[in-house]
Structures are given as structure tokens and as C-alpha cells.
């Protein structure tokens, strides 16, 4: 199962990169960025998985004494937790700038923004 998740994560990352590089509409580029983000999170969580174990929450089913042999790795999960929230903030920022670009040029086509091109 973790192999499937890892493969899917990699392909989703590639799809996001492809969308970032080939699409012409800025909204589509931002969608590609969020797809890329999701793929990265899947890869990180899949790397934390340990075969046949449960979530890192100690309760009646997971004994405190034997927790080392029963739970999956909590550290990448904690990192992904913060990464998702940061991803929302960054996406909102990108969308605001897309809106400002649209206000300047009245278009969202990336090919019409050539101000820095000599």
C-alpha cells in the first residue's frame, strides 16, 4: 500500500510540475502549484508509514509499554500538518497577486506579462 501511495505521490508531483510549466493561464498555474503541494504531502506521509501499524495515538488499543512496536512515525506527520497550513497561506498570497496582475493588464495570460523581458 505504501508503494502505491509513493508512486501516486510522485506522479502527482510530476503532473503539478507539468501544469506549472506548460499552462498559460495564471489560475491554472496556481492550481498546478496546489497539486504539487498535495503530491509532496502524500510522499512524506507514505515515507512515514510502517507496515501493519496504527496511528501514533496511545489509547486503550495501543498500550503505553509496547508503543514502540505498534505505532507509525509521528515526526513527518507533524511536519506535513504545518506544511498544509502554510500551503493555504501561500496559495492565498499567489491568488491575491494574480488578482492584482489582472487589474493591471486585464488579462491572465502569462504570455502578456513581458515587462521584465528584454
Amino acid at each position: 500500500m505504501e508503494y502505491v501511495a509513493l508512486t501516486v505521490g510522485f506522479i502527482v508531483i510530476m503532473a503539478g510540475l507539468w501544469a506549472i510549466m506548460t499552462r498559460k493561464n495564471i489560475i491554472r498555474i496556481i492550481i498546478g502549484f496546489s497539486i504539487f503541494d498535495t503530491g509532496l504531502h502524500i510522499v512524506m506521509v507514505a515515507l512515514a508509514y510502517v507496515k501493519g501499524r496504527t496511528a501514533p495515538i496511545l489509547d486503550n488499543t495501543v498500550a503505553l509499554d509496547d508503543a514502540v512496536n505498534l505505532i507509525v512515525d509521528p515526526v513527518p506527520q507533524a511536519l506535513v500538518l504545518t506544511a498544509i497550513v502554510i500551503g493555504l497561506g501561500v496559495t492565498a498570497l499567489m491568488l491575491i497577486f494574480a488578482m492584482k496582475l489582472h487589474r493591471e493588464k486585464k488579462t491572465l495570460d502569462i504570455r502578456s506579462f513581458k515587462d521584465l523581458k528584454w
Binding site: V8, I31, I35, Y49, A55, L81, V85
Partner: protein, 90 residues
Amino acid sequence: MSYLLIISILLGIIMLAMAGIAIYHKSQVVAIIAAGALGLFASVMYLLLSAPDVAMTEAAIGSGLSTIIFFYVLNRIRTTDEKEEQQLKK
């Protein structure tokens, strides 16, 4: 073949299809909704990988709030475009 493996393969196929729709569909609205659905299926995948915390966060933020802000921006851009068209007609 355990049933978890079959479920995860099905989920993976659906997620790849969602990514394809999000990149290549003509309508931007459908593309945004497909990106949100990708997040939703990813949260089910996190649940299979025994990460319930991450699954909750992804379901609330990745597929809920980010879709909503995409739609706000899309609505804003569409209304300004409509206003300009009306001005051009005048």
C-alpha cells in the same frame, strides 16, 4: 492482495484522473473543483496510511478553504470582465 491494497490502487487511479481533469479541463470552475476533490481523496489516502491528524487537516484546509478562496478570486475576475464587456458595448 489485501483489500487495503485494492482500495489504495482505486484511490490512486481516481486521484490521477482528478489531477488530469484539473490540468486539462476547459472550464476553470471544473478544474478548481477537481483540485479540491484531489485533496479530498488524498485525505482518504492519509487515513489508509494511518495519519488521522493529517487527514483532518487536509479535508478541512486543502479541500475546503482553498477551494473557497479560488472561487472568490474567480468570481472577482469574472465580474470585472463582464463590466468591461458592458463598457465596450456602450
